[in-house]
């Protein structure tokens, strides 16, 4: 009898030795005279368990993790291939509280199926949304997206249906769909996980979008820091092309080139056109004049990946989940110094404290939490006093923060918040596209000013200057890079003023 094993090939599993574990498993099986088949899956998304090895048994899949290559021989001897007891045995992974508490719609298949098996995808309900959409008029698809209440998951939270309707109604010689997979925000990895773990879901969402807005070509702009995701997407598209599934038009993977600002939609369009990734002034909106001047639907990976479920299960089911005006599920990404780091898909509305303390179970280091940066490098630092804020676009905005792409980076009490504020400005200076002055110069001046405060040179006037600079950047920048860099800077200043004192002053 052949034992079926499952080992992720998600980058986060590869990064801690998943390939070595597979090699060791094959060797150990050979020695034990056992036949095994290893299926390489995406990650289920609880990274402290990686590399996670699962074996198919009569009672379902049994997990062992984290498995290091040198433990494999011992595990096999203990009966890994039969799901036997061992200190690394975690039982059925889906029964762990971290997974049992989730509502997995977008990530339902991630970590479970072979991401490059069309049969697995179909057998688990894949392409049901596309089949429905193909029997619907474009306007009816748009109505369904509107009724679902889905908002753009890239960060801005703009109602997806309204955007789709605008592109559908726009006239142009041709139309495009551009999927933003330039997931540059620190603390986020959901797009990567999805592309590596369930690429057909994104392709299905893209095909539905192309049909709905009347586009005959789509691009997936993947950042170059994600070589595995780009590879898996490319292979998945080749399989779909070969199976004649790309009926709406071709989909092409494009690789970014290490510019954070290309995650901004207009900079991404410039980059797709083969130019410097400099942002465009809006209007015109990309929906009216986007890629090559044509009407273009720009959506994030998670927005498009939510579409198949919305169509197959019905928009009402999706809209029934959520909180306030944030409908459906959020892909919360727990990162930084957190015990249960990983992907937690849940309806909007849990509080920040529930997410990091109950789901995340606090820090991995065991130190107290001092701050949580929500929404990437342009998001605010939340102190523990704001942990009652519900995970919702409006609630986070009301606290001068943002949900962004759903990343939560946990910092313990060793963090120096002045250093973090300085880093936010330094990052903005490195990544500024240079088009508008507040961002290009403001970031550099900001770093200098923080340095002056920390050196104790005229701290009063320097603090005033930082606030003034942040005001200029917020209101005067063309895009979110300059416009939102003030959020981490000001939140650090407002919530952690004690860190902005010169060393001699702090010692007094």
């Amino acid at each position: 009898m052949t034992s079926r094993l499952f080992v992720p090939k998600d980058a986060a599993a590869l990064a801690v030795g998943a390939d070595e574990v597979v090699r060791a498993l094959t060797q150990a099986a050979g020695k034990a005279g056992r036949r095994i088949e290893v299926v390489r899956t995406g990650s289920r998304g609880l990274f402290r368990l990686e590399p996670l090895v699962e074996v198919e048994t009569d009672e379902g899949r049994i997990g062992y993790g984290p498995v290091s290559p040198d433990e494999v021989a011992e595990l096999v001897a203990a009966g890994l291939f039969d799901g036997a007891e061992h200190r690394l045995r975690i039982g059925p992974p889906e029964a762990l509280p971290f997974f049992a508490r989730q509502t997995r719609l977008t990530f339902a298949r991630c970590g479970i199926i072979d991401p490059l098996s069309l049969n697995d995808y179909r057998a688990s309900g894949g392409f049901a949304g596309l089949e429905k959409a193909r029997a619907m008029a474009p306007q009816a698809i748009v109505e369904a997206v509107k009724a679902s209440g889905l908002r753009g998951r890239g960060g801005a939270g703009f109602p997806a249906g309204i955007k789709w309707e605008t592109v559908l109604g726009a006239s142009g010689a041709r139309k495009y769909v551009a999927c933003n997979a330039d997931e540059g925000d620190s603390g986020t990895f959901a797009d990567r996980m999805l592309m590596e773990g369930d690429p057909f879901l994104l392709i299905e969402g893209l095909l539905i979008a192309m049909r709905a807005v009347g586009a005959a070509k789509a691009f997936v702009y993947v950042r170059s820091e994600y070589p595995q995701a780009a590879q898996t997407m490319t292979e998945a598209l080749t399989l779909c092309r070969g199976a004649g599934l790309l009926a709406e038009g071709d989909i092409e993977v494009r690789l970014g080139a290490g510019a954070y600002v290309c995650g901004e939609e207009t900079a991404m369009l410039e980059s797709l056109e083969g130019r410097r990734g400099q942002v465009r002034a809006k209007p015109p909106l990309p929906a009216h004049a986007g890629l090559f001047g044509q009407p273009t639907l720009v959506n994030n990976v998670l927005t498009l990946a939510a579409i198949p479920t919305i169509l197959s299960a019905g928009p009402e089911a999706y809209a029934a989940l959520g909180f306030g005006r944030s409908r459906g599920t959020a892909a919360v990404q727990l990162a930084g110094d957190v015990k249960n780091g990983g992907l937690f898909e849940t309806p909007f509305g849990l509080t920040l404290g529930e997410l990091v303390l109950q789901i995340g179970e606090g820090t991995e280091s065991g130190r107290p939490i001092r701050a949580v940066q929500a929404g990437g490098p342009l998001g605010a630092y939340f102190p523990a006093s704001l942990f009652d804020t519900p995970f919702d676009y409006e609630a986070f905005a009301a606290k001068d923060g943002l949900v962004g792409h759903g990343g939560l980076v946990v910092f313990n009490d060793t963090v120096d918040m002045a250093e973090q504020a300085r880093f936010a400005l330094e990052f903005c200076a490195v990544e500024s596209c240079g088009k508008c002055t507040p961002c290009r110069l403001g970031a550099v001046r900001g770093v200098e000013t923080v340095d002056r405060i920390l050196a104790g040179r005229d701290p009063g006037a320097s603090l005033e200057l930082i606030r003034d600079l942040c005001d200029t950047m917020k209101f005067g920048s063309l895009c979110a890079l300059g416009g939102l860099t003030p959020l981490p800077v000001l939140s650090a200043l407002n919530h952690f003023p004690e860190d902005f004192r010169a060393p001699h002053e702090a010692a007094e």
Binding site: A11, A12, L14, A15, V16, F47, R48, E50, E183, G184, D185, S186, G187, T188, F189, D191, R192, K217, S224, E225, Y226, P227, Q228, A229, E252, R254, L255, G256, A257, G258, A259, S271, L272, E273, G274, R275, R276, G277, F292, Q333, L334, A335, G336, D337, V338, G341, G342, Q373, P377, G407, V409, V410, F411, N412, V415, Q420, F423, F427, V430, E431
Partner: protein
Amino acid sequence: MTPAPAPWDEARAAQIIRAHAGLEGALLPVFHALQAEFGCISDEAAALAAEILNISRAEAHGVLTFYHDFRRSPPGRHVLKLCRAEACQARGARTVEARVTGELGVGFGETTSDAAVTLLPAYCLGLCASGPAALLDERPVARLEGERLERLIRDARA
């Protein structure tokens, strides 16, 4: 280990550029392909791309110099990208950064004198719950501490 870059060959470069010239907005794919072949994009390569794609040399130069990924001179045998972003900072990236720069004797953007490795900063590799993280050539490495960090440094120097 990545294959050693090929020496400059104008005919081969023209062939690569023409293979991508039909793409919409072809310049980034062209530059990626040239860099994959030759290790960097020399001024001659950029000029040739401009000529074949029928754009100005200034435009090609502008694109070449805008993106962090594109290099105008050859890198070391390995390229090590160390994540400097917040989630890795929260997990000790600054210590790893100090260790790696000290051990290799280079700063970000520099290549070791034996041309073994070019050290580059990365701002997020999407390994945010398993940091500190790095990308050695295209191989992700995470939880950089102890033996795994030592091995990364050894592999980078190889």
